[in-house]
Amino acid sequence: MINKIVASVAEALDGIRDGATVLIGGFGSVGQPDVLIEGLIEQGAKDLVAVLNNAGVGRVGVARLMELGRVRKIICSFPRSSDPVVFETLYREGRIELEIVPQGTLAERIRAAGAGIPAFYTATAAGTLLEQGKEAREFDGKRYVMERALRGDVALVEAWEADRWGNLVYRGSGANFNPVMAMGADLTIAQVQHIRELGELHPHMIMTPGVYVNRVVQVDRGGDWLKPEAA
């Protein structure tokens, strides 16, 4: 029987190595695999490359991971946040590398990794500072930048519901980076609110097929602590 559900966060994160590139889903507070990030702090892997949209808020979650010196490099579109104290301190002191990537290019580079595309061209960033160090090329008279696929060793994602095949259903705006990161890593680990019986999830509601998911851990916040949007 296929059963991707594991019993604990520790089991879900087992084997993440020093130096790993870790894709972290979520946008703002929505769809963030917060318990997996806390687990990663416990787990101990260091020298990590973190790929996510923001560079952490306050001193919790990813910011805490950075503060502990466990993140060598961050690849993101928007290092600023409402409270970017940890990142900005580390960055000023030269203790963390930063690669700024336009948000859409970030998503597309991860998709490319998941879809077997080593490189693609985009008009985004053409002629700007973020073109530097990249090949540029004209197609039909317009300038484009060549962007390379960005693959994760691990992806940490969040979803509302899952089944034992690892199929994921998102809630509200909770999909965001999660589906594309799920397909762009060698090991995809999902934190979910609800486990459903196989067959309970509607085939057309599943945005991430279980094929992309290796491990699922349920984070029980006590039932429907948030009500799903009306059907």
Binding site: V30, R92, P102, A107, E108, A123, G127, T128, R171, S173
Partner: protein, 211 residues
Amino acid sequence: MPFTRDQMAARLGADVPEGWCVNLGIGIPTMVANHVQGKEVIFQSENGVIGMGPAPAKGAEDPWLINAGKQLITLAKGASFVGHADSFAMIRGGHIDLCVLGAFEVAENGDLANWATSENDTAPAVGGAMDLAAGAKRLWVIMEHTTKDGRPKLVERCGYPLTGLACVRRVYTNLAVIDVLPEKGFVLVDLAPGVTLDEVRAKSGAAIHTN
């Protein structure tokens, strides 16, 4: 009297036709959503929401529904969700009729600078601005006509790092509405009530033409 920010948003909103799919940047651009007066406009958000409704009533917030500015939102009837790759495919593929952004500078050749300033020693944050600048069908900028210390933001060439090249089509400021036309540069469309063309020219760093 120059426009207030709300009036700037209203002035822009009046120019949005029914049926457009519109992406609004953070700040003044977001206020445009309140000023499309009965027209059915589809508001898209980079985080995969297509069809945002008005801000939620107090007590009716759904914490799982936010926009790209991380504000709580509601869904309009007809809304749908996609993931980030699909959301930016929509943006970068030219399917957004209009993107409204703020700016540090707009040049008369349509160049936009809105993501990084040379004075800034912290890491610059680009977010989705370059994708929107390169991909939206048209880009309108909404901004104060000058910086807080009175320097012009409409310029001959941008001094700050560019967000996109030759992408701005129109600028809405507290003083005027100005088209950015290929070959021609800045061309006045409209003045705020009581504002003169001379004042607009005095506060601009590039020629303001009239038709």
